[in-house]
């Protein structure tokens, strides 16, 4: 059973890594940690920034989703939508470089204020910076979820509302709100947990003790003090909070759909019609409001990219391209990402097949969720804690110079596996359901069955899964922050270091290279494995 073996490997790595660290640290002192006023304020800040990020993301996403829903035609709409669907795979460090370029003391906003004669403002470092970055990543995600929700409101409801003359606020509360309300727990849960465990953003934009999250405190305990006991205790606190809060959000959620099928014709009484860009007469104010919302959102989401490009056009940063450190980081990044992406996709496929087999067998239906849960187990662990635990476990038996890179790949696999599972489980289930009997009837099995029955239907989702996992892995700035030296570096770590040395021009050049690399790899993998017909289900 390859499925069982993969699950065992994943499960043992996650549990083994953590137990290994507990074993090495010798003691767990959660109570001692909780008694420290500083640790308490770290926990408070972690919760506070996550709560704020979540509320603001939901608050800003709703009008944006509405505006996009009401205006099906405008120049750049499809690009904006595409942007909302890729926001999660924009490498964090690229976004941070861009955000510093826009909101830093010498950023675009301050340049603009300067032209108007205002004094420069320092608002980036600390909570503000963390919120800006979290909104940059999460507003598109939530907008996407809300827009999908709005698009699933049946046509007859809109027509009914129109006949009854329901408009304005009533339209929101009677037609839209019931749908959105159902989406909020799931959406809030995802955003909250992402922000709760946020690492690179807080590390780069945090600005000191007053804005440190648990994840960063764990990193500091490991990287600077080598205090394993503190790291283990803080990790346990984080895991317990994560699981408890996740439970609160997701127990009241009815599932989260990131992708929605394209609905060709839709109509809403207060929006532009689908056939032409002509506006409904008498609705000038809402139209202007929508335009304003869309413009502000576009400006907020695109300005960091613009800032990066402007920095590159400065021309002072190109020297980095000839630097041996850059070439090495490029090579390491590509290698790590391909290996991790491939392993994760293969693992996900094996687990997905297991899930499908279990689901289709009435006796085992009830346990079909277990493999998926094991596959997602790593998500509640701080990657650096897991990485350190595994490192300590293997350091006496393995050559240290190969252990670092191997663990970076391994930890990456564990953390991109859930994404691959999300993508692969539904289509694999569908294929099995459809063709298992048929191919058995035809006497097909093994490779033949794969080649002729499953492959044609699965190559698209497989290509998409590999593309997503590879891209995620190439932009990852997690465990590499712990193991990285100048001999083991990736492009995101290089950006972080250049940012640390305040070489923003060079960092911007590397950021552009990283983005292009992601784009190229994504397109090539999707086309090469998925076939010519373009991307899988990722378009609205």
């Amino acid at each position: 059973m390859p499925g069982t073996m993969v699950l065992l490997l994943v499960g043992i790595s996650v549990i083994g890594g953590f137990v290994g660290l507990i074993f090495e640290s010798g003691s767990i002192a959660i109570i001692d940690q909780l008694q420290k006023p500083y640790i308490r304020s770290v926990i408070q800040f972690t919760l506070w920034q996550a709560a704020l990020s979540t509320s603001l993301s939901l608050l800003f996403a709703f009008p944006l989703a509405r505006a996009l829903h009401r205006r099906p035609h405008f120049f750049g709409r499809s690009i904006l939508l595409r942007l909302t669907s890729i926001s999660l795979i924009v490498p964090t460090m690229v976004a941070i470089i861009g955000i510093v370029g826009v909101h830093g003391r010498s950023g675009l906003v301050n340049d603009f204020l300067g032209v108007l004669g205002f004094p420069r403002q320092d608002y980036l470092y600390g909570l503000n910076g963390i919120l800006i970055a979290h909104l940059f990543f999460n507003v598109p995600l939530v907008t996407r979820l809300f827009l999908n929700g709005l698009m699933e409101i049946p046509q007859h409801q809109w027509r009914l509302a129109s006949h009854l003359g329901v408009t304005g606020f009533n339209l929101v509360s009677r037609v839209e709100w019931p749908v959105i309300r159902g989406l909020i727990p799931g959406a809030a849960g995802i955003v909250f947990l992402l922000c709760f465990t946020s690492f690179a953003i807080v590390l780069a934009l945090g600005g000191g003790p007053q804005s440190t999250t648990l994840e960063v405190a764990i990193y500091q305990a490991l990287r600077f003090d080598f205090n394993l006991s503190t790291a283990v205790s803080l990790s346990l606190i984080q895991i317990v909070l994560c699981v408890a809060l996740g439970f609160v959000f997701f127990s009241s959620s009815n599932g989260v759909k990131l992708q929605s099928e394209h609905r060709p014709g839709f109509y809403r009484p207060d929006g532009d019609s689908i056939d032409s860009a002509s506006s409904v007469p008498g609705l000038i104010v809402p139209r202007l409001l929508d335009i304003a919302v869309i413009l502000i959102a576009t400006l907020f989401l695109l300005s960091p990219f613009l800032a990066v490009v402007l920095k590159v056009l400065h021309g002072k940063g190109f020297a980095i391209l000839a630097h041996s450190g850059f070439l090495k980081a490029l090579e390491t990044s590509v290698l790590i990402a391909f290996v991790a992406g491939t392993i994760a996709t293969v693992f996900a496929l094996v687990i997905a097949q297991m899930v499908a087999t279990l689901r289709l067998n009435t006796r085992y239906q009830s346990v079909a969720v277990i493999p998926e849960l094991v596959g997602m187990m790593a998500l509640i662990m701080p990657p650096i804690t897991l990485g350190t635990g595994l490192f300590l476990l293997f350091r006496s038996t393995t050559d240290i110079s190969t252990l670092g890179p191997a663990l970076v790949v391994g930890i990456n696999v564990l953390f991109i596996l859930p994404f691959a599972l999300r993508i692969l489980i539904p289509p694999v289930h569908q294929q099995k359901q459809r063709f298992d009997r048929l191919s058995q009837g035809l006497g097909m099995s093994g490779l033949n069955q794969w080649r002729w029955v499953f492959w044609p239907g699965l190559r698209k989702p497989l290509g998409y899964a590999l593309a997503v996992t590879t891209t995620l892995s190439i932009g990852d700035m997690g465990v590499i922050a712990l193991f990285g030296t100048d001999n083991l570096s990736t492009l995101p770590l290089l950006i972080y270091r250049l940012l640390g040395n305040y070489r923003l021009d060079q960092a911007a050049v590397v950021a552009v290279v990283l983005c292009l690399l992601c784009l190229i790899i994504f397109v090539i993998i999707e086309r090469f494995i998925g076939g010519k017909e373009g991307h899988y289900n990722a378009k609205t």
């Binding site: 500083y38 830093g104 003790p209 080598f226 240290i400 030296t485 640390g500 040395n501 070489r503």
Partner: protein, 330 residues
């Protein structure tokens, strides 16, 4: 035939490279970077050692030792370079450090030094650097800094991750004692950000993000000598200035102990020390044959230099860092 020649050439080059032992020195990034003293020191040592000197850099000074602790007995580190006087007791307690066995009679430090495990390689005084063009009247003491305008933004380093950050915390502690927490709270509105390492903070200052940055009295020498730029100067504090002695140590588990010994000896030679003033922009620990660069004479000369006892620091560091963090997080 040509291919054969090429191949054999390739192999012989590789063989040559393999014959040379590698000495791994773990250090902080600004020391090993191409703008730091690392490359020149590498060149100077490789000219005499028949070896390959490799700097492995981590992103901050306190991270050097925890890196070695993480790697354990299998670590390839021979030498750690870049800890300072405030960390030596903690470092010794890890049990990873071996005696250096270097004759220290040539040392020329403002204080006496007889530690057999940690060898000084440079020293300096902490100071706030400011831009004379935008701030012609910098604060002249901590009291003045604490009472300064809230618009005066400073960037400092984290005492948990960086030796200058730790140095500042101890400096404040030696000036104010039990009132330190109160002083940090008063300073808080003026602290733009607390960075992880020195280079991050200094970079922000140079980009104009902050008005003052914690660095060294020697930093202006860099601008005067390398850039012919005299607008960046150190603010002289009447309370005195914290002193830092940066040290190197040999590891017990060094894969190349003899080579490590040779490097430790090399640290006090003119070849190494003469690179320090205009490489790491600190003071050398022995008198240089050629003397110090002329512009070093223009630097702030602290009337009082403050340095705490290493044992006292080790005992209280954890609590003091908690106090610092707590004061800044309210």
């Amino acid at each position: 035939m040509r291919l054969f020649v090429l191949l054999s050439l390739l192999f012989s080059v590789q063989a040559l490279a393999q014959n040379k032992p590698t000495l791994n020195v773990y250090t902080y990034d600004s020391f090993s970077s191409e703008w730091g003293p690392g490359p020149k020191i590498e060149q100077a040592f490789e000219a005499v050692c028949e070896c390959d000197l490799k700097f492995v850099s981590v992103d901050s000074s306190t991270g050097i030792l925890s890196r070695v602790q993480l790697e354990g007995a299998g670590s390839s580190a021979d030498i750690v370079l870049g800890l300072d006087n405030s960390l030596i007791v903690d470092a010794e307690n890890t049990g990873l450090i071996a005696p250096h066995g270097v004759d220290m009679s040539s040392l020329n430090l403002p204080i006496s030094w007889d530690n057999g495990k940690f060898l000084p390689f440079d020293f300096g005084y902490f100071a706030f650097i400011y831009n004379t063009e935008t701030h012609p009247n910098p604060p002249g003491s901590f009291d003045e800094l604490v009472e300064a305008d809230n618009d005066l933004k400073i960037v400092i380093q984290d005492p948990g991750s960086s030796t200058p950050g730790l140095g500042l915390m101890l400096w404040v502690k030696s000036v104010y004692g039990d009132r330190a927490a109160e002083v940090w709270q008063k300073l808080k509105p003026r602290i733009l950000t607390v960075t992880k390492g020195w280079s991050e903070a200094y970079g922000m200052f140079l980009e104009g993000e902050a008005d003052m940055v914690l660095s060294y009295t020697t930093s202006p020498a860099y601008h005067m000598i390398a850039e012919s730029e005299s607008r960046y100067q150190a603010a002289s504090f009447s309370d005195g200035h914290g002193m830092q002695i940066e040290v190197a140590a040999k590891l017990k588990n060094a894969p190349n102990p003899e080579l490590a010994d040779r490097f430790m000896q090399f640290i006090l030679t003119q070849d190494f020390q003469s690179i320090i003033p205009m490489g790491n922009w600190m003071f050398p620990v022995v008198s240089l044959d050629e003397g110090l660069p002329e512009d070093f004479g223009k630097l702030v000369n602290p009337a009082i230099s403050l340095m705490m006892d290493a044992g006292e620091i080790s005992q209280n560091k954890g609590g003091w860092i908690d106090e610092f963090n707590q004061a800044l997080s309210n």
